[in-house]
Amino acid sequence: MIAPTIDHADRATAPGVDPTPGASTDGYELEGLGLTFGGRTILSEVSLHIGARERVAILGPNGAGKSSLLRVLTGHAPDHRGSVTLDGRAIASYGRDALARRLAVVPGEVSLPFAARVEEVVALGRVPHEDPLRGLRAADRRAIGEAIEQAGISDLVGRDARRLSLGERQLVVLAMALAQEPRTLILDEPTVHLDLRHQVEVMTLLVGLNERQGVGILAVLHDLTLAAHFFPRLILLDRGRVVADGHPDDVLTTERIRAVYGVDPAIIGR
């Protein structure tokens, strides 16, 4: 894999882990989280604190439990063991509407049964905020316009979202999540179909949202280089357990990559 040619200076200015851990109940608190599906252990003994304004990448090989962890954090796996709280409240105690005003989730893959224009898909991000009957109001339309601009898809407005490339569609659902105006943005492999330039642009967008607007970012990533470059904190999962958590330099060591991925890290250029 080729490392993007950007200087690494901005890493020093990136906010690290919450400077006063434990001082607030904001964000996620996971204690002994476990998840079993069909007799198979998906997650076990996961204990983490993820502050509300942190920027965290979740890494790990296929089947490590990354997406399952996101499902737990977004309230889709209520049958988990252990405790999972968001802002001090058990995740299971949130209604879907309350959760949708707090978090936005950028899905990995979506399909549309009917033709829909790009802006109509982005407008779905306003569902948690809009009046059920009156539909989109001025504030909603402003948020939609801003999200379209932020995601850099202004030139796609008016087009049928089903006729876009996978990468373009990924940007459209990202814009939808931005229109939701969440305090935390949760992304499942947001760059998987994107070319190098768009990968870097999406990452830069996430960094900007996090540093300038204080939006918490929690992303499952496959690309270790992107993760190490743009995220001050990485969580490495392997077979359902957290095997490392911290600064990229401490998490992505040669021995650990070899142990977790079974690949010589020289290949990925670190």
Binding site: A115, P128, G145
Partner: protein, 359 residues
């Protein structure tokens, strides 16, 4: 997102485009309303005995409380108010109901091929009607026969069975609903075949119901079906937001704040109620519930807040016109007319749509 390019596209551009996209619904609504009005007047005026358009409008106006002097014979009044008007209005109500239910089923099942009958309502109603025909009991009350009652119950029971059975499978919920609907529908169709086989001389009555039509329409029937269709449609409109969120799938809908299990149950129940009320008075009329939502979506986009009410209008106008056409050569089953008009129309739209939008 890219620092350089983002400043070139001000937000106002998007808002302007979004505003412009909202204008076509009004044009469609006015067109559909005009077509419906015309269809109602023409539907009342034309038939085996034609009533002059002027008289038709005058009788209707007087009935609505306008001060119009009576200048027409007594028989005109009877034809217009007691025979034709209930029939025309029943067609409008059934057309609106089927189109709304079709919109709801397509959105709920995320399937463009879904129609109001997809979860067994048609086979259930048909079997109910067939049973009512062959059992040697004659119940009639205010113009309602056993046929209407059993068709209505049959439709609801069939959907309820599908719903219950689908919940116990291990398949993904939407696939389970569709496949269970297909299986239960086939089973009920077999029951219908048996009923038709043993019906003997009454076979004609069963076939008559299966083909659908409004020749038996009456005020009491309309008074029973219309409130169910109208109320069900209004309650569905209140769930438009949920249908919108379901556009991107059930998990994304949940992430957008929708309680998917609850909303799915409510929408399914309401759409089935509307369908049952429609098929109970009209028999099985195809195509309206399938094509009208697509036509409307092509013009105004997928927002259910627009698609539901506009489908109701377009569906009402379409079925009223179809019934009018069905009466011209004598008394053709209206389901035949909806298919003859609807299928080619749909194909033309599909071809034209290829340029810009897919259905």
């Amino acid at each position: 997102m890219s620092v350089g390019a983002a400043t070139e596209a001000p937000t106002a551009v998007h808002i302007g485009r979004l505003e412009r996209a909202r204008r076509r619904p009004l044009a469609l609504a006015l067109t559909a309303l005009a077509a419906l009005g015309l269809a109602i007047v023409a539907g009342v005026a034309l038939g085996s005995v034609s009533v002059p358009f002027g008289d038709t409008i005058a009788v209707l106006a007087q009935r609505l409380g306008w001060p119009v002097a009576t200048t027409w014979p007594e028989t005109t009044q009877v034809i217009v108010l007691d025979l034709r008007l209930p029939r025309v209005l029943t067609a409008a109500v059934v057309g609106a109901g089927l189109a709304v239910a079709g919109t709801a089923f397509q959105g709920l099942l995320r399937n463009p091929l879904a129609d109001p009958y997809v979860l067994g309502a048609a086979s259930g109603a048909a079997l109910g009607a067939a049973i009512a025909v062959i059992i040697p009991v004659s119940v009639a009350w205010l113009g309602f026969g056993l046929v209407h009652a059993l068709a209505f119950s049959g439709a609801l029971i069939a959907v309820a069975i599908v719903w219950r059975l689908a919940r116990t499978t291990s398949l993904s919920s939407l696939t389970a609903l569709l496949l269970t609907g297909y299986a239960v529908g086939s089973l009920l169709a077999a029951g219908l075949s048996i009923a038709m086989y043993v019906s003997g001389a009454q076979l004609r009555q069963i076939v008559f119901y299966l083909l659908g039509g409004f020749s038996g329409a009456s005020w009491p029937q309309l008074a029973a079906a219309a409130p169910l269709v109208v109320l069900g449609s209004i309650l569905l409109l209140l769930r438009a937001r949920s249908l919108n969120a379901l556009l991107l799938g059930e998990e994304t809908a949940a992430n957008l704040g929708i309680d998917v299990r609850r909303e799915r149950a409510i929408i399914l129940a309401l759409a089935s109620l509307v369908t049952a009320a429609a098929v109970a008075v009209s028999g099985l009329i195809g195509f309206v519930g399938l094509i009208v939502p697509h036509v409307v979506r092509l013009i105004v986009g997928p927002d259910a807040r627009l698609v539901l009410p506009l489908s109701a209008l377009v569906g009402a106008a379409f079925l009223t016109l179809a019934d009018l056409v069905a009466r011209i050569p004598g008394e053709l089953p209206v389901g035949v007319v909806t298919a003859i008009i609807g299928a080619p129309f749909f194909l033309v739209i599909l071809r034209r749509a290829r340029a810009g939008y897919e259905v």
